[in-house]
């Protein structure tokens, strides 16, 4: 049974697209058939983060309006063959996302894939509502910072009231993903700690992604961090989060840099 998962946050710039790409790739690596759907009509970026920007021919809006079929619009990843991307339109208006059209596309994707990951735009308007409407599960991406936590709270309220599941009286499965986390600053009391955020938002924790330069490096070269730097701390955190999504019981830890003997010797000589 396919799962539709929305990656959302309310606030922009907290790591929704990074998370969609990294979690999607991590799930696909385990053999699951995954499609990433970009809902950010007008400001698409998932194609760029996935390194597929030059392969976009048709997009979500083309499929909704019947200009192309799904098979023509889906872009297969060249690194992992169980991973695909359905890009958003860069030129069209958000109003082109009709509820019926989106429902039809999601239904078709459910038949072809194990996971349909919807990358939500920032904000609480049409694009974000369409992205979350059909979701069975939600990953709420939050930074340990006041404005992000406030917006996440608002989005959680929307997930519980406006989605299809909520309207049929069922609960949507919500998970918190804390990103750009700095354990040292949290320990010093200069950053909201994991427990603070969990207490305020009161939804279960999917994982903690440490702040890391590897995330930017990966997007520079157009690869999810779980493919570009699979041994880096954020990639290991994303891989563990993916295993939790698959139902495995994995204790939540904050991965740190693995330093081999060679790194250690080299570093000493340089400094």
């Amino acid at each position: 049974m396919a799962k539709v998962l929305v990656v959302t946050s309310g606030k922009g710039g907290v790591g929704k697209t990074t998370t969609s790409a990294a979690l999607g790739a991590a799930l696909a690596k385990t053999g699951q058939k995954v499609v990433l759907v970009d809902f950010d009509v007008g400001l698409r970026n998932l194609d760029l983060v996935m390194g597929a920007e030059r392969r976009v021919v048709f997009d979500l809006i083309n499929v909704i309006q019947g200009d192309a079929n799904l098979a023509q619009a889906l872009i297969k990843d060249k690194r992992i063959d169980t991973l695909s991307l359905l890009p958003a339109s860069q030129t069209r208006d958000k109003d082109a996302l009709t509820p019926e059209g989106v429902a039809k596309v999601i239904d078709e994707l459910r038949k072809k894939f194990d996971w349909v990951i919807c990358d939500s735009p920032a904000g609480i308007e049409r694009g974000a509502q369409m992205a979350m409407h059909h979701a069975d599960m939600a990953v709420i991406v939050t930074n340990p910072e006041v404005s992000s936590v406030r917006d996440s709270d608002r989005i959680i309220g929307m997930l519980d009231s406006t989605t299809e599941k909520a309207k049929s009286g069922k609960k949507i499965d919500k998970h918190l993903l804390l990103t750009r986390y700095d354990p040292q600053r949290a320990a010093r009391g200069d950053m909201l700690a994991t427990d603070d955020v969990l207490e305020i938002l009161s939804i279960p924790l999917l994982g903690i992604i440490p702040e890391s330069p590897d995330v930017l490096k990966a997007s520079n070269v157009g690869a999810p961090v779980t493919i570009a730097e699979p041994e880096s701390p954020p990639a290991r955190a994303y891989a563990e989060a993916a295993r939790r999504l698959l139902g495995e019981k994995v204790e939540v830890t904050i991965p740190t840099e693995r330093k081999g003997l060679f790194d250690w010797l080299f570093k000493r000589r340089v400094s």
Binding site: E145, G157, S161, R188, G189, D190, L192, A193, D196, I200
Partner: protein, 109 residues
């Protein structure tokens, strides 16, 4: 001594952030959620309706202040009512309507 105590008592900001969020969200969850009308806006509207039923009120001379606290919130509506007494000029504030502070008590956080 002060130097030392300052060194050890360095205030961390995260607890402040947590407390501010807890107070704010306790309010937002009851007022914003589910497309319900904002409770305080509704209170304000209805209180104004009652006042208008008895005296003419200039919309520009109404001041509304709101202080959201951890345990209760204070909604203060300050209405300037002109000419209730015969000889008073328009500027005179009537004592009775001076400060009808309405404590809109909401759920404790």
């Amino acid at each position: 001594m002060t130097f030392l105590s300052n060194l050890f008592k360095r205030r961390s900001s995260a607890p402040v952030a947590r407390d501010r969020l807890q107070i704010l969200l306790a309010h937002e969850r009851i007022s914003v959620g589910d497309g319900k009308d904002d409770l305080l806006a509704q209170l304000h509207r209805e209180i104004m309706e009652v006042i208008k039923r008895h005296v003419a009120v200039d919309q520009d001379k109404v001041q509304i202040k709101l202080d959201r606290g951890a345990h209760c919130s204070m909604l203060e509506i300050d209405v300037e009512v002109p000419g209730l007494s015969d000889k008073a000029d328009n500027k005179a504030k009537n004592a009775a309507s001076g400060k009808p502070a309405t404590g809109g008590k909401t759920k404790p956080a």
